[in-house]
Symmetry: C2
Subunit: 353 residues, 2 copies
């Protein structure tokens, strides 16, 4: 029974036997078997859009490691790609939109998406993966937050200072709110379609929320995530669907995020778990937060750093072990094994009743 | 008497008539007169290295606005440039080193610099600017922090995830400590040379300290800034030389930074001033922290946001008004005037005894 799985239980702050563990970008370039499949696909987007390949890639880390979750192989930019904005991934520069949003008319022209038509490849990959997983571990679906997706749509790709979207925010806040509202509705439908296709947990990546002042974070990022959380299916076919919220550099907003209606917060490594717990108490679970760079270290040090994270969270349920950000592409897969085994070996003592 | 200037007094938490104000990157591309001089110089580095031009550029914003400080026009990468690492500034990609640090031998080969020889152009620009300023306002000198300069030296330029330096940090911490120690000594000499050349205040930019976990921040960034603070000339020709520390995304480290021995902390806009004050009390002054994007707004909104920053700091001395980061290059210079005038008009009420 999946609802009895320790990942779901920990997300809902129910007692578990040990701390569950999975890894952001666990299906990715650090795995030779991923690079092999990646070579077969024309490009990264083709890989995302071919359900058979996306499924295969999603399952790869599960074959290697005793992980407590699969996360569907996809990208937060599938939505603007479905808006036909001419997305491509340049080798060095990352994502690039041929037709970024530059005026209010561009926003008004954005279509309403039907996820089962326009993003069907994601749902197909989820259905295939679910079948292959055979209820062994939960499957995590995900989406970018409205603010984070909007940064790429307006900046035209990655950005250092987010000056275009912030210019818009201060120059024409109503226009930006229109875009964010449209994205919130679209993302809600997208999340619900993933849940209906089989996702057991959803995660919302607000990667760039941390570039905002606190009032702006509440108005332009958190507000729209709250709308998604409110309108997402949270109970489906007899099971609760937990939702995790992740923001980089989230320390200034932790208390607000904890009251957003999510089940868990994903933290990067700059916030210590004891400080976070002191700040937000036990109202939500916490996922994280080993610095991904620790995996460059040696096994002895890796075990020590895993222990520190477990100690910082302390006794009791509600902790999901993860990196504080995606795994780097040049990590030794053997070091990942050391980390996971360390969580398996050291975490049960924190769950003795 | 410069020691009576409200910038120095506020940095030392002595009573002032109104909140002093200056702007990070106040001499820069948003000013048409800067772009004019920039066109005359071959490139950005030539502009930094030509004391007459650097002086002229430093003085430009002072001619336009009633600012409370000049800051010498220079760059945090002057030190690695003096190490002969082949620095250039690419149009889109920012700084780029032809010969980045890739092994311990590269570190051991780094020369000891004599600032009055190897970075004489900075000292000459400071001397010229001091003469031109004629004691009207204090002159701020600056340097990058050891950690921040090291990121550029090892990554070879700007970075998104700092994977090279963090790999080094976890793979060969001793090697990285050698580099940081060498940089700390070099930066100390550089700061002292600037003070002897006439800088009235020093500022240390730890732009990328915020990508570290808290224990790593203490060990690899703050420790070396503390060494600089300890060995810098703090009292010169009868005057106290205040030192400001700036880290982006510094909320997790505020209390540690406040105990570092600096006189003031520079904050970005993600930490609210009331929260910062609650966290660190009055042991140091605070500089900041208007979101630079607010200047994209209109005069009414700009005044309102200036008022919020002043209110958040509240009554009493120890506040230096500034942006939370460098001004964007496409800001209307008229909006800068609105901001400065708002500080002049609204801040005296916070300083009534």
């Amino acid at each position: 029974m999946l609802e009895e799985h320790r990942l779901i239980r920990a997300l809902l702050r129910q007692p578990v036997d040990r701390t569950p563990v999975w890894i952001m970008r666990q299906a990715g370039r650090y795995l030779p078997e991923y690079r092999e499949i990646r070579r077969q696909a024309k490009d990264f987007l083709t890989l995302c859009k071919t359900p058979e390949l996306a499924t295969q890639v999603t399952l790869q880390p599960l074959k290697r490691y005793p992980l407590d979750a699969a996360i569907i192989f996809s990208d937060i930019l599938t939505i603007p790609d479905a808006f036909q904005m001419g997305l491509s991934f340049e080798a060095k520069e990352g994502p690039c939109f041929q037709k970024p949003i530059i005026c209010r008319e561009d926003i008004q022209r954005l279509p309403m998406l039907d996820p089962e038509i326009d993003l069907r490849y994601v749902m197909d990959a989820i259905r295939m993966t679910k079948q292959a997983l055979n209820q062994q571990v939960p499957l995590i679906g995900f989406a970018g937050s409205p603010w984070t997706i909007a940064t790429y749509m307006i900046e035209g790709g990655s950005s250092k200072n987010f000056s275009k979207i912030k210019k818009w925010m201060y120059h024409d806040p109503e226009g930006l709110h229109q875009l964010l509202a449209h994205l919130a509705v679209t993302i809600t439908h997208y999340c619900n379609a993933q849940i209906q296709a089989g996702a057991d947990v959803m995660m919302i990546f607000d990667t760039w929320g941390g570039v905002l002042s606190q009032p702006d974070y509440l108005a332009f990022s958190l507000q729209y995530m709250e709308a998604i959380l409110k309108n997402c299916v949270r109970f489906y076919k007899g099971r609760t669907i937990p939702i995790i919220l992740f923001t980089k550099n989230s320390e200034p907003y932790l208390q607000a995020m904890a009251c957003s209606g999510c089940d868990a917060l994903g933290l990067d490594w700059t916030t210590s778990l004891d400080k976070a717990r002191k700040s937000i108490g036990h109202q939500v679970a916490i996922q994280g937060n080993l610095d991904p760079a620790v995996l460059y270290s040696n096994p002895v040090r890796i075990r020590k750093e895993v222990e520190k994270v477990l100690q910082q969270y302390g006794a009791g349920t509600g902790h999901i072990f993860n990196l504080g950000h995606g795994i780097f592409p040049d990590i030794d897969p053997g070091h990942v094994e050391v980390m996971i085994e360390a969580v398996h070996a050291m975490s049960p003592q924190y769950h003795v009743v």
